[in-house]
Symmetry: C2
Subunit: 270 residues, 2 copies
Amino acid sequence: MSIKIAVAQLELSTSAPAENVRKMNDAIVEAANKGAQLIVLPELANSGYAFKDLAEARRNAIHINGPEIAHWVELAREHDVVIVTGVALVEGQALRNSSIIIDGSGVLGKYDKAHLWNNEPDYFIAGDASPVVVDTALGKIGTMVCYDVEFPEWVRIAKLQGAQILALPTNWPDTGLPRNPTPMEVVRVQAAASQNKMVIAACDRTGDENGVTWVSSSVIVDENGLIQTLASSATQQILYAELDLPTDNSISPRNDVLKDRRTDLYSGLN
Amino acid sequence: MSIKIAVAQLELSTSAPAENVRKMNDAIVEAANKGAQLIVLPELANSGYAFKDLAEARRNAIHINGPEIAHWVELAREHDVVIVTGVALVEGQALRNSSIIIDGSGVLGKYDKAHLWNNEPDYFIAGDASPVVVDTALGKIGTMVCYDVEFPEWVRIAKLQGAQILALPTNWPDTGLPRNPTPMEVVRVQAAASQNKMVIAACDRTGDENGVTWVSSSVIVDENGLIQTLASSATQQILYAELDLPTDNSISPRNDVLKDRRTDLYSGLN
């Protein structure tokens, strides 16, 4: 089934959480009006990323039952879209770097980032559960967050759980590696898609934040890992691609990305 | 430690196995004379790939104790190099699609391809053991063959066994996917290197063979996945790169590609 996917590369800031949420709302409406059926937003879209301190992170985090998410559910219902976004969530004393999958019926799934990057453990408690994969009107959508995707084990588990598409909120900090011909963050997404015969929609962010800049390389790749659209500049923009979700795992007359796995030989991974 | 690596992209043929071996010998000598310390050759370099029938495959296969391998050991001793090559081996009634690691002291390791591509099961028995990683004067060298590298589980196991560099004999059949900006075969190698902080030297082949053509994209990537050299044409050529082997697994002040693995959550992989 062909679906139209949008990734909304937004300029976010830890010092303006209300403005971040307004940008998210606007992006959802704009993408839906352009016919997008699945809309993916960046990691920690509501809060920004490069916090000054824990108090700021806590101040910016929202509640799973709060008004922001209720409004996104409303927007999803009104426009008949599925939304996947990164969010800083507060859960009791804990903060989570989460991704939520939303449709008009509510929050279909919530995933807590399991592999934390650099200073994130100063703010967030790592998740202890698998990537989330949910059945939607568009197909089976899986999600994880940013650094998670660098663990091929994790992408494979999403695939084994049936994900046809992986919606990946990210904040890819610019580490100064050469970007040509393709940023390594995008290369890893391409490989993950191709090795799992899975569409991947990765939504990065943009904008300087407390001295951190971003690769700003939001990308949608097809089930062969081929780039369908890729942000070419560090600016706020919504990118679109319309493509089929995979319905089988075959990659040659006699090969299948899952059946060919030699699980009898993989015990060393644990 | 910085080492000079060569990948010898050869034009091979199932109908001329003696000529294949001559080309291998010549490539080893040429690369050694240009200062290469590690020389990687293609998959099934002695036999060719697209066999007419099992009899041809059997006819072309060599013995682990045969004169061809003895000669490569001699060359390795004479030139003080390490050689990794794909070979069709005959073992009793079985044929194996193998990779061998050779230095002047003999065959240091033999690996049998565990993930077979398309019609290969008509000729070869799949291996039942892990990727081989051996300690050499140059560092810890791991090997696997072609389609094996599409299984991130397999590359990870080589890394967990200590490989600093993966020497990958391949025959990448051209499946018609777009090659720009980078062939997907190379993208997967880049991602594997970057996710494992491991150098990878992949040696492809070239030349039409019974209607099969090849991506002809031999490549050497560094521990960040960055391309150091990449064959730009479907011609016979030897490519070189001199680079450091990784000595740790760190990728940020607080991140490590192995320590960050959530092995507590990976049981679904088996």
